[in-house]
Symmetry: C2
Subunit: 192 residues, 2 copies
């Protein structure tokens, strides 16, 4: 097992503690205990706590983006956009943990300008991906020509964000079918 693998294990331990105990209770010692070792391991693979926390979040973000890209390759047209959005949703119970980490980190970022700026960059990336997708659909006349694509990309982000937080708080209110319905309803309104 190489360096990067071990480093990932530490991050995953942190990941589990965040979900179970909350981000502000995720101490170096708690992570080490979750990993079944001492804090020496944690400090060996990460300079700071900040570096560790940031890395753990980045894993979540990248895996979701990867899932979106995977959908993009398998589908076409309106269907493709719909599946890409769906890939970011907590459709299954296991996906909910990713959203817990995301929301925990979002709240943690309030009052920390550096973290907020990093979030902005993440949103920029997603917005760009969605913009591209919408531009393709508009070029092929599958969605209305009068749409402000940047605005609509933001609208899709808010849709995903809203559903994500909704599911974390009230899971019983958002079944997978209901989530899909909300996305379908939204995208349907964009069609030409």
């Amino acid at each position: 097992m190489g360096y990067d693998d071990r480093r990932l294990e530490v991050a995953q331990a942190a990941w589990r503690v965040i979900i179970r105990e909350g981000l502000d209770r995720t101490s170096m010692r708690a992570i080490a205990q979750e990993l079944g070792s001492s804090t020496g391991v944690v400090t060996h693979y990460f300079r700071d706590k900040e570096e560790l926390i940031l890395f753990a979040l980045e894993q979540v973000v990248e895996s979701t983006l990867e899932a979106m890209r995977a959908c993009a390759k398998r589908q076409q047209g309106i269907e493709r956009l719909e599946q890409m959005i769906a890939a970011a949703l907590p459709l299954e119970d296991s996906d909910r943990d990713d959203w817990k980490v995301w929301i925990a980190f979002l709240g943690y970022s309030i009052g920390r300008d550096r973290l907020i700026q990093q979030h902005q960059k993440r949103y920029d990336r997603i917005r760009q991906i969605l913009y591209q997708e919408l531009a393709n659909l508009q070029a092929t006349k599958l969605i209305r020509a009068d749409l402000d694509l940047t605005l609509e990309a933001n609208a899709l982000i808010t849709l995903v964000d809203g559903i994500g937080t909704g599911v974390v708080i009230c899971p019983e209110q958002f079944s997978a079918e209901q989530q899909r319905y909300l996305v379908h309803q939204h995208i349907h309104a964009l069609q030409a």
Copy 2:
């Protein structure tokens, strides 16, 4: 100045620290300093830190619900629903602080089941209010008859939540007009 007024002042001091420093850095001492007094004041008016934090959040929630109710009395029909939703949005810069507290608290609740349950109750209240509103509109045939009102109430909540978090992270991406447009677009799709 009475007891409740002073108690509110303490909560507002906490409120400011949360926005400026973040919820996990909002210590008793930081609140006292923000208030310009000692921690004796804080402990005098609040049993716990938890009681204080919860009270501060409740102020935000109640003021938003009050703003929604105020809109409900001044308007009618579809316009009324639209204004009620708008009342919960961070249309002006000053409203953003409320959303910062809300999001900070949301993230803080991850891993704390008791807080999550309280959030569920808050969502239940809002969902009920919106359900009532939607039921009225459906009875007067202003929105489609085939709509699942509970689902649509949830959809409105996700819309507001999504915009709120979007504004906190990327304020420049969501002007007041754009926020109103998103709400208008969403509600328009419900019309009969």
